[in-house]
């Protein structure tokens, strides 16, 4: 009940102040950022963090959440109209959205995407309100061992899920991120590591310049490398028929919302997997499997519900464990710390109202997203007429100024450039970016927890394995990794195959 009152108070205070205007412009900007190929939600949140760090904490976090929610939804527009996902989270959307647009049903497709996104966001929001306080209380019992395993679990699972074809590359990306986090003064004795006398390196590698590089410059280089997209020419029909047809698949939407939220909850996995897992589950249980990939309303609805449900889902570990559920959530975590908010197990004790303020922010961003998305269907299509040749240089200037503005030092610009080129090379070699960023975020937790744990146990590694929560974390990470490994899956497939041919006569 207290939570509901805090939520209502937060909604009321936003709506009765200038912050209501922030909700509208930030969500609209998010939709536009998401729509434009080459601009991801992560980059949008990162650039806006540099623009909002002189604002008050509540106002800045509200703007960033609106950007995050809007961008993940906005990516569906280019996926439907151009067959180019605006953000990686909308890749599954393009599979059925684009065939629908080609069939002259672009308006319906956009309405289905909007309905799914709004529904998914609401499911995730309810989960955020219900799970976050419980998880925060539960996390109070976490010690060094549990935080160590949480960091290992996050890096391994994120590496596994973002690089399903070749998990070792995902793990390498995660461990490279962990290594990057060790650069600079360590947190126990303040000994500088890998800084070789550089005062800038002694201060460590900033997360924001690294993210702006890995998701900004690397994306610019990737976009410019590929062929230009054609300006949109699809005809749009009425949006209302799309809303009506979404209603027919309400159970698919509910299931996708739950799957998306769960994917958001898992550290470093986020919206991309939220969409793909929901899409796969929808196809598995659909009566019309053959329509998937050819313009299935159910497939489109599942993908868009799943990715937007992952947004509030990814905020749950941010608030309660200080562990990001996705790449944009990692920036949001950094922004919260910049603004003096301390996410983690103590959040419900130190600032209990903040969790419900975040729920209220997601709620208002979702409403703004739905209203703007439906009302501005046709005008927003014009955004896609901007060519990459004219957009990318402006984005690059924003990346440079954004990296510089955080601490007014040129070193951060070099960090941004390094991560841009390094990220581009890694992408070309099929190394995912999300585990790298998660590794940078979790590096400090892993470092301190392992060393503290070893002191507490006097070097007895067994202590890391035999505590109940530690046990759950390492066993589930191990099982998950084993089950998703192609060679193990093949072996299991053979072992459990019914003996129908040759085996039984």
């Amino acid at each position: 009940m207290d939570g509901l009152i805090s939520f209502a108070t937060a909604v009321g205070s936003i709506l009765t102040s200038w912050s209501a205007l922030d909700v509208v412009w930030a969500t609209l900007l998010g939709i536009i950022v998401g729509m434009l190929p080459g601009l991801t939600a992560t980059l949008g949140v990162a650039l806006l963090t540099t623009l909002t760090f002189k604002m008050g904490a509540d106002q800045a976090i509200l703007i960033l959440i609106c950007m995050y929610v809007g961008a993940i939804y906005g990516g569906s527009r280019s996926a439907i109209l151009l067959n180019i996902p605006g953000t990686p989270a909308n890749a599954a959307t393009a599979l059925d959205g684009f065939p629908l647009a080609r069939a002259g049903k672009a308006g319906s497709a956009m309405a289905i995407a909007t309905t799914g996104s709004v529904f998914g966001s609401f499911i995730g929001m309810i989960a955020l309100a219900v799970i976050a306080p419980v998880l925060a209380e539960f996390a109070l019992s976490f010690g060094a061992y549990e935080f160590f395993w949480l960091a290992v679990f996050g890096v391994l699972i994120s590496g596994q899920l973002t690089s399903l074809d070749d998990p070792i590359k995902g793990w390498i990306a995660g461990f490279l991120g962990l290594f990057i986090a060790t650069i600079g003064q360590e947190g126990i004795y303040a000994v500088p590591r890998f800084s070789y006398g550089s005062t800038d390196l002694s201060g460590g590698i900033g997360l924001l310049p690294a993210m702006v590089g890995a998701f900004g410059l690397a994306e610019i280089l990737t976009v410019m490398r590929h062929e230009a997209y054609e300006a949109v020419r699809a005809k749009t029909d009425s949006v209302w028929s799309g809303i009506r047809s979404s209603y027919k698949y309400k159970m698919t939407a509910l299931r996708s919302g739950l799957i998306g939220t769960l994917m958001g909850l898992i550290p470093g996995v986020g919206e991309d997997m939220g969409a793909w897992a929901s899409y796969a589950a929808a196809r598995q249980s659909s009566k019309n499997k053959e329509e998937f990939g050819k313009g299935s309303v159910e497939g489109l609805l599942a993908a868009e519900t799943g990715n937007n449900a992952a947004v509030p889902g990814a905020l749950i570990p941010v608030l309660t464990l200080a562990v990001p559920g996705s790449a944009p959530a990692a920036v949001l975590l950094a922004a919260m710390i910049i603004h003096g908010i301390r996410p983690g197990p103590l959040i419900m004790i130190e600032s209990p109202g903040f969790v419900y303020s975040v729920v209220a922010m997601v709620f208002l961003a979702t409403i703004a997203m739905g209203v703007l998305g439906l009302l501005l269907t046709r005008p927003l299509v014009l955004v896609l007429k901007v060519t990459r040749e004219r957009l990318m240089p402006i984005i690059f200037v924003l990346c440079i100024v954004g990296a510089f503005a955080i601490a007014s030092r040129t070193f951060d610009v070099w960090v941004m450039l390094f991560f841009g080129v390094f990220g581009f090379i890694l992408r070309e070699l099929k190394y995912p970016m999300a585990p790298l960023i998660l590794g940078i975020v979790l590096g400090d937790i892993l470092d301190k927890s392992l060393r503290r744990g070893l002191v507490l146990s006097d070097g007895d590694l067994f202590q890391f394995f035999n505590r109940p929560i530690s046990m759950v974390l390492w066993i589930s990470a191990l099982l998950f990794i084993l089950v998703t490994m192609p060679s193990i899956r093949k072996w299991m497939g053979r072992a459990f195959k019914p003996k129908t041919e040759g085996g039984v006569k």
Binding site: F179, R193, L221, P393, I394, I400, F404, K430
Partner: protein, 172 residues
Amino acid sequence: MSQPAMNKADFISSIVLTAFGIGVIVESLRLPRLENLSVNPYTVPGIVPGFIGIFLTLAGFFIFIRSIRRRGWDLRLNKDHAITWISSPMVKRTAVTMIITMGYAIFLFPHIPFWIAAPIFIFVFVVATESMKYGKLPGGVRLLTALALAVAAGLVINYVFQDLFFVRLPGG
């Protein structure tokens, strides 16, 4: 990237990764152990980077072996293929983007006032990439709109950061 090309890229990158992992282990061992402060040996600063180095070395070695089994070691260059690849529009676009962006970031941004440097960069980028796209220098209207875009974007970004957010940009 095709699978044979990826195998070759994996072969080279795994050597770099393994060498890097070994370097991290060596540098971790060289980090101070603070014996003079009698610190607990389990908390020495090199312990975590050392473990990370071991993982990177093993993972790099795994990819190295895998790339050898997939014939990634066969790095013989086909001269015709190499020339076709270098002169492909994709490589040209990437190279031009890289040169212009790095040129701006390294030479213009730190040394020239932002409100001059940013429009120059935007204009040069638009003209260079549109020339590649259309196969010729953009016409009068395109040049004019590119110039207007460059000046407007440079001035707006300069105003937002310097005057609204009080960020003192370098070079000015």
